[in-house]
Symmetry: C2
Amino acid sequence: MAADQPTPLFERIALIGIGLIGSSLAHVARRDGLCNHIAVSARTQRTLDTARRLGLADSVTLDAAEAAAGADLVMICTPMGAYEAVARAIAPVLKPGCIVSDVGSVKQSVIRDVGPRLPEDVHLVPAHPVAGTEHSGPEAGFPELFQGRWCILTPAEGTEPDAVERIAELWRRAGMTIEIMDANHHDRVLAITSHLPHLIAYTIVGTATDLAENLKQEVVKYSAGGFRDFTRIAASDPVMWRDIFLANREAILELLGQFSEDLTALRRAIRRGEGDILMDVFTHTREIRRGVVEAEQD
Amino acid sequence: MAADQPTPLFERIALIGIGLIGSSLAHVARRDGLCNHIAVSARTQRTLDTARRLGLADSVTLDAAEAAAGADLVMICTPMGAYEAVARAIAPVLKPGCIVSDVGSVKQSVIRDVGPRLPEDVHLVPAHPVAGTEHSGPEAGFPELFQGRWCILTPAEGTEPDAVERIAELWRRAGMTIEIMDANHHDRVLAITSHLPHLIAYTIVGTATDLAENLKQEVVKYSAGGFRDFTRIAASDPVMWRDIFLANREAILELLGQFSEDLTALRRAIRRGEGDILMDVFTHTREIRRGVVEAEQD
């Protein structure tokens, strides 16, 4: 290690799954010397070959347990539907004192699916780096993905503070600002800021795919009027999003109920020509936008 | 006029209303010497003062008829709900052979609201420059707004070809590519590419405004996960959009019916844990995105 490199945070990091988030984290680890060894496991040899070619892995394997063995950090970066199986597979080989973390968009389900399967001498620190693009796979990753974004940690009460701090420091090095939050609260916030928008975008683009072929071509042609933003959102990884919707089912269904009511009210106002009702809603939504712009999220 | 300036397309252009689109067109007219005089009318003296200050008007008036008198092009750039009143006001003073056009996002309603009020020796060429931002008002305009975008013209059958060509040339000079389309077809295409996306964005941001105050602050904070794109769309001018939804009521209501059915199907799949149904929809939506990217709309 060069003298000007910071001390590695971990000796061996195991990345279980290496899509957009996993590969971006690997880029950061390489750039900043966050660890001495990156072990990568994936479901296909092709993904492993790609990870190797990009210089993101010191060792690769199709077996999650093999990657996790001896690691002081196991970061689960698979779609959330695979978490339980991953936890079962790695549990027997985890090093005492090892930290298990993840990058999923739902956090209660991690505590439910992963927590009970881990040995007692292992620390679970669920994390959600709130960052992404519509692209997926190991080639989509880049080290600046996390820069200036939030990372939300949702450790259960009583989690070893040192373990939480090490995960916080990892994401700080990636450029993120850390928030600690209750998992239930996280899932409700993300349901509105991310999960519902994605579900709606998938729906509206899906509605368009059912249009007559001649109309569909023109929809693509004139997509700049608003539809284009939805197609970008609806191009995100299907497996990842299927698993998110199923993992955060309750919060999403509750919110969908409210959204459907609100949409029905607007639909009724349009049908009846009640412009005042439309104006009222459209004026209020501007306030939220002001908040977003002021929060420098833009 | 300088020797290297192209020949003006019009002697006198009247802009009835000068928001984002009107002011951007005025910038283009100034930049390229498209006319010798820009007459601007608006509802408030403040808007007229701004137009003057920005150098976008040679004459200003609160009276649409005064602006339109003697113009060889009258461009209606108000919210669509004002079209009928504008048409009534300007009809008596229009110069024979004058062209009346507009920039609205719905086109059948122009033919319905404006057409019957104009004298027979005046040419109506409804137009829709498909361009915009979430900002509004005369200070939001800039000459590059139209560059590389589509402009859809929907002249009624039998419209004087020279008049159509002059409007086409105006928007070509602004950097747009021209399409001629049936007004009914235009309204159906735009309902899906623009009107429904805006309505949905308004709804989802409206749903968020009803959340408990502590949750709302966090929604703003973590908006990068998808919600932010919706807030941008839902920050568009409320009056303009109220009028669009009312003007294109039928096409929007029909589409909303399909959208609601599709959303209900996804909701049911989430509730029942039917991941295959979700995967099927999410995989198909990627195809539309590919089309959009290939069409170089992005």
